[in-house]
Amino acid sequence: MPQAEPDHSAASIVEFCQFARDNGLSNGVGQTLTALEAAKCIAPADKQVFALALRTVLSSSKEEWDLFSKIFELFWSHSQNALGPDSKEGTEPRFNTHRPRASSRALLGLSEGDASQSERESKVVLGASAQQRLQKMDLANVPSDDLLALEQISMRLFRKMSLRLARRRKIKNLAERVDVRRTIRRSIPRGGDPIVLAFRGRKLRKHKLLIFLDVSGSMNSYSLFLVRFAYALQKYFNSVNTFLFSTNAVEITDLLRTRDLPDALRGLSQRAAGWAGGTKIGDSLRDFNRQHGRRLLSRNTVFIILSDGWDTGEPELLAGELRNTRRIVRELIWLNPLLGLEEYAPVTRGMRTALPYVDVFAAAHNLESLLALERYL
């Protein structure tokens, strides 16, 4: 790529910082000032060091770090005169297509027609990906008016459940041993006589929840309601992350964080591509572990899989991934809607593979069974 010598004048650096911000970096004004200072203390002729310096100042994560060199090249190569308006206009739209944020916006814009269509239909199906719905979905057993009532009841009950959990934490938080150090500290205002004893109790850590929800075809009649369950949990618990999966895993934590549930569900239909498709639990779990595992899983995570265990992937892969996950997290809970059926036995290949690694195997076919989850949190 032909490159112009980067211009070190303050104006072009400020311009570049803005350009970087527009193209996906999260730098603020503070960083711009730092960039100016940094430019002052490096040799002006050394273009490479100049780029490296700006990178270390402006980026703040691996993703931004990787993105930076693209932005840098684009800006300095296209702007002989960085302040020229035409160069800016020429580059920005082209580059913007690489931005995930912009591309998702474009996606929304492109499917404007679809969106309004699904919006109309969402009164009935509440947000399932419109095309998929027409192909596969049969929601006859979940009438929409019942759904609303059920939703209200469940929200009320989930809220109660979370309050109960908070209270239980407090009661358990009783003292266990005398804390000598703090007792002495407290005795100092009283001339060294330990009148008030300090106690040391075990600090109760709140568990993090990770919800891994199956939205494949076989889960059709449950998945929409289970999304509501995830929404409720996320509303009342501090740290919950939610993923949907069918043949791959998609994070929807941010979507469920909105105040308005219908809004969230509309967003969902845009994002979840494999809605009502096939199931590959092992593959999805592998995707998840690779991309998000290190960030989201720890010793105090409770990992909840909501799935019926109909798996078309490799059982060995599923077993391996479950083993990996199980080793990191505090508890692995598998909630299976089919367990509510009297004649059901976990004999499907996927379920048989999974059972040895699961701490809790419970039903999830109605509100009651979901509320019973409280026991394990």
């Binding site: 310096a53 270390t56 703040s60 691996k62």
Partner: protein, 300 residues
Amino acid sequence: MPTAPTFPEDKQINDVDDLIRSFERLGYVTDRALATAVYLVIKLGKPLLIEGHAGLGKTEVAKVLAAMLGTRLIRLQCYEGLDINSAVYEWNYQKQLLAIKIEEKIERAIEEKEKYIFSKEFLLERPLLQSILAEAASPVLLIDEIDRADEAFEAFLLELLSDFQITVPEMGTIQAKHVPYVILTSNRTRELSDALKRRCLYHWIDYPSFEKEMKIVRAKLPGIEEELGSQVVRFVQAVRQLDLAKPPGVTETLDCAQSAMSLGKHRLDAQTVEETLGCVTKSMEDGAKLKAAGIEKMLS
């Protein structure tokens, strides 16, 4: 406003290449990107956040920087539940208690007694306070594995990193005489807060290229035969391409080369690798995966 770190005159670093050479003299092979970042730490007095996989020499950067500047390295290892008492300061309660008893016999005003009890003599300095109190020159403060500490501690750190002052209620606010050079490292086990990241320079440390890794091996194991060294590096680089739970870092390369040397080998063969498998892979599954991929094939 705190002033920029004071810099020893005789160890002036004039540009990035100077710094690379100084680091190399101390046995740390670095590239221009990292050198630029460290150079800016020295020049701007900003904290540097280094992220990357385990075993790539993140912590080492701070050590070498301290050695190069000839200043003290103060290290704070983060862990879950790290609190102010073990990171900043604590009063020496036992000693205070004894002092109170002794003071009972002495005629002195209550205020004076209190002042004495809460004087520096009774203060236990933990790493962060130490870094602020340094008398002679700016120390290097290494905050290791910040991602392991909890969010509350991160928020506290924010205040320290912007003002370089610590408030001890009984004594007042202590302002740093010499602002420390701050290096933070993270393994990315969780996302750090934006506020903290915004205050720091950032560097992502990646797996080294073949040439760089060879240079590191030569620097760290001066006696190694060229043939063996390049074989080990090529092998470990191939292993990194496998989909392991814990890909080997540079530390593992060095371990592997070291053990081959101590076994008196002149070249790396499949048998040696198998015998010293623990140097490269750190779990049973990874070991099995490596064997399944064919050690012979990866050596060739």
